[in-house]
Symmetry: C2
Subunit: 331 residues, 2 copies
């Protein structure tokens, strides 16, 4: 079968072996697969993964011992846990040290004509959620993980640093409890999508220490940007994003770390201690609420799609994806 | 001026003295005033209040020392705090022991041709929020107070007991972070509004201990009603609501108390201790997020309006309001 493989370089393979249905697993034919920043980072060395890429998908189960799944349209959680270790038994299966992760660690991903995933990872997609929305379930769940981990109050001021795919999903998710949300980004043209949802956008260039433009007009009240946000989310996917996010968070505020990339970051941890800032790492999130929000039309996904490519055109798709909104692969 | 007065009985007065503009206060001409369950309870003896009723309003400032407010369309927080006591200084102004409360304690309310409120309580209404939505700011803020006080996770199962005005607003607010929300109510006809927002509704009669119908089908999984909800909100406004809410909450779950009524409730506090249930009283909430959500159309208010009456027809309006959705008074 065709598969988009990374083994030091990204290439399309035409004779990749088809997966066989192990007990407890399902064979899935994907309809759409999203290219995530993590996929791009993997092709730059992140995680040292070699295999078929792809972890954001919507597809149909074509084979499974539990035949009730066959023919169903599904999305899937990407962490396949052992289910028996102490981490799993305390309810933290997504942190199982024995886990494989779809297209990221120890398990071939979804960018192929077929792939396999444990039934325990699957979620049936409601009929009123089209494929082009369902393929965003995984990144939307990652955005919701912030609300799952941390108490965001409706009166909290929230800054999202980064106006990429994940940043725009995080902004849409974190506005839902009523929070005032500002996206700090470099793509002015993405402001329209945000403004339609009552989310403000500020150019990243405006946020420099001591800059005269270091001001943001909150309703009725001018508030300095520096150290003025209760919650700041770094969605830049780049080492520089953390420093910018750190400048925005108030003393005793929370800094949510969503970026995954190859390489180290530097941070003045002593100043973090003095300001009593809480740093909170955040990764995969809950699928069921993500599907509920998509079914109710509370998250706009169509404006996040930058283009579609056939799987066989995957190399061009990856070239097009860098710095763009969501590129989808069609199988 | 005309005013709707409660002084042991509810009556329309035609020669009520007009309020005078004290320093720091604004004189407001209301456009619409909502009748709240608390207003009805006051006419039954709750709080022992005597004076002009009404605390849910949208109106126009007609006089104010700070002339920038004059002519502006406003809603207003109902607690007028002293601003100088230790409670106020620690940021809990809505709990100021010296506070007056609009139409509830020590301060005439909005059901009149004019009334007064401190400027500190006012919020300008965005142009894109019509009067008929803005008048819901106060009860929506009270619903958001739950999200302000308590960490509701997107994966939490939430039950709202009571399908009245406040219950339907709480259900709409608590669904926003992605939570699965079920309303337990007695008015099947209100299910349509809820279903349109992905909120389930169950008849209160179905929830009896040991009943064969004591089941609710969560997606893919039958779960017993009893003690199965992470968060339960009592919005019934009646003593019996608490017992029903208590039956629904899981061990270590949270029971949010939103009902205000005249009279005591009984509860097995020993069983509450054994089950480690947290009881959380909840009252007034933040206006700014409520206005943000109304401006974005995330809360449906039109279906909550059961009727409109002229202020001079206020006694009939109160008669019509009992057990109904929102009745509005027009001035």
């Amino acid at each position: 079968m065709q598969a988009l493989l990374f083994d030091g370089q990204l290439r399309l393979v035409h004779d990749y072996p088809e997966p066989s249905a192990l007990p407890g697993e399902a064979i899935i034919r994907p309809h759409l697969i999203g290219i995530c920043n993590t996929d791009i980072e993997i092709t730059r060395g992140y995680k040292g993964f070699k295999g078929v890429l792809g972890h954001e998908f919507v597809g149909t189960v074509v084979a499974c011992q539990n035949t009730s799944w066959v023919g169903r349209r599904v999305v899937g959680e990407i962490n396949a846990a052992c289910g028996g270790c102490t981490t799993c038994l305390r309810g933290d299966a997504s942190h199982c040290p024995e886990r494989t992760t779809l297209g990221i660690k120890g398990r071939d991903g979804a960018m192929a004509e077929l792939f396999s995933l444990p039934v325990a990872c699957l979620h049936a997609v409601p009929d009123d959620v089209p494929d082009a929305a369902a393929v965003f379930t995984e990144p939307l769940a990652a955005a919701l993980e912030i609300l799952e981990q941390s108490h965001l109050r409706p009166t909290d001021r929230v800054a999202i640093v980064g106006d990429g795919k994940l940043g725009l999903l995080c902004a849409q998710a974190l506005r839902l409890p009523g929070c005032e949300v500002v996206v700090v980004g470099r793509h002015a043209e993405r402001g329209e999508l945000l403004h339609a949802q009552g989310i403000a956008m500020m150019p990243a260039e405006a946020i420099r220490p001591g800059a005269a433009v270091d001001q943001f007009r909150s309703p009725g009240l001018p508030i300095a940007w520096s150290q003025s946000f209760d919650v700041v989310v770094d969605c830049t996917g780049q080492p520089g994003g953390l420093a910018l996010a750190r400048r925005l968070v108030r003393p005793r505020g929370r800094l949510i770390l969503k970026s995954t990339f190859a390489g180290d970051s530097t941070l003045d941890l002593s100043a973090v201690a003095v300001d009593e800032v809480r740093l909170i790492g955040s990764r995969c999130g809950p699928f069921a609420p993500a599907l509920r929000l998509l079914a109710r039309g509370l998250i706009a996904t169509e404006p996040l799609i930058a283009g579609r490519f056939a799987l066989r055109d995957g190399q061009n798709a990856f070239r097009a994806a860098a710095g763009q909104l969501k590129i989808l692969l069609e199988v």
